[in-house]
């Protein structure tokens, strides 16, 4: 069980990505890094914004780590939402495509590429939902 958000959670997530045949197939030609921004919610245990960076390349995640904002901002694609929205996504309470349409998750990057790889993006979300997670605002 890993605490979300944390470096440890990210390590488990990267392992899940690299073990997924479905992701490997859907993202076989994908080239580009992605940053997830977990916006601060001090009352929920996230005192400052966190940037998780994933180096995704041809169906593989070559590296994943928490990075400073200045580094994360260079990513080809950035998905941004408050911590509690990400929690809803991981808990399968919010579908990411619906969330984007409603403006609950904000996407920055080349839209045509995202649309072409929507299956791979969905798979990334599905994999996040498989990581045994303890949320920082539910810590005992």
């Amino acid at each position: 069980m890993a605490l979300f958000p944390s470096e440890e959670w990210l390590d488990l997530y990267v392992d899940r990505i690299n073990q997924s045949k479905e992701y490997q197939e859907a993202a076989a030609t994908w080239e580009g890094d992605v940053a997830y921004v977990f916006e601060a919610e001090p009352d929920r245990g996230v005192p400052e914004e966190l940037w998780a960076w994933l180096d995704l390349w041809h169906g593989e995640c070559r590296e994943g780590k928490l990075v400073p904002a200045a580094e994360g901002e260079k990513a080809k694609f950035i998905i941004r939402a408050p911590y509690s929205r990400w929690k809803e996504v991981i808990n399968k309470e919010l579908d990411p495509v619906k969330g984007m349409m409603q403006g609950k998750l904000k996407l920055k990057g080349d839209l045509p590429t995202i649309v072409r790889y929507v299956k791979a993006a969905n798979e990334l979300v599905n994999l996040a939902q498989t990581v045994p997670t303890e949320f920082v605002d539910e810590q005992v």
């Binding site: 969330g99 403006g103 609950k104 649309v115």
Partner: protein, 137 residues
């Protein structure tokens, strides 16, 4: 790219941001698509998330407003997942290519009412131009 994509609202909704971003990127990557910017008003609505937009297309400009406004030539209604998939379907003469699996799936969804396009028969040319403008292929 000389054409502009302009948002009518200070805070465009998510659908507006996605469709606007898609059109902007397509016009940048395929400048020849500027020729598709002929007068048309298009409503797009995703009932599963309760979000709608109106596109005002004119030569050199695409205006995007939150919600359905006025009387559009075309009104496209589909769930959010389907709307995203529509942009990646292969086209033939601007309409879904029934020679492909994806094209047949869209035609099937139209026949079953999962995708509704009001004004489709009266404004086929406008629909073909819209499809080409949004296509990621």
């Amino acid at each position: 790219m000389t054409a502009t994509v302009e948002y009518a609202d200070e805070e465009p909704n998510g659908l507006a941001a996605i469709i606007g971003g898609l059109i902007e990127a397509n016009l940048q990557q395929h400048p020849e698509r500027e020729a598709l910017l002929k007068p048309a008003v298009v409503g797009i609505t995703a009932p599963d998330v309760g979000v709608s937009i109106t596109l005002q297309i004119a030569p050199g400009r695409v205006g995007i407003a939150n919600g359905l406004q006025g009387k559009p030539h075309l009104l496209v209604e589909a769930n959010s997942d389907t709307l995203i998939e529509l942009s990646s379907v292969p086209l033939r003469f601007g309409l879904p290519d029934n020679m492909t699996k994806e094209g047949r799936a869209v035609t099937g969804s139209l026949l079953k009412g999962r995708i509704k396009v009001k004004g489709m028969t009266r404004h086929t040319a406008r629909l073909a131009r819209l499809n080409k403008l949004l296509s990621v292929n």
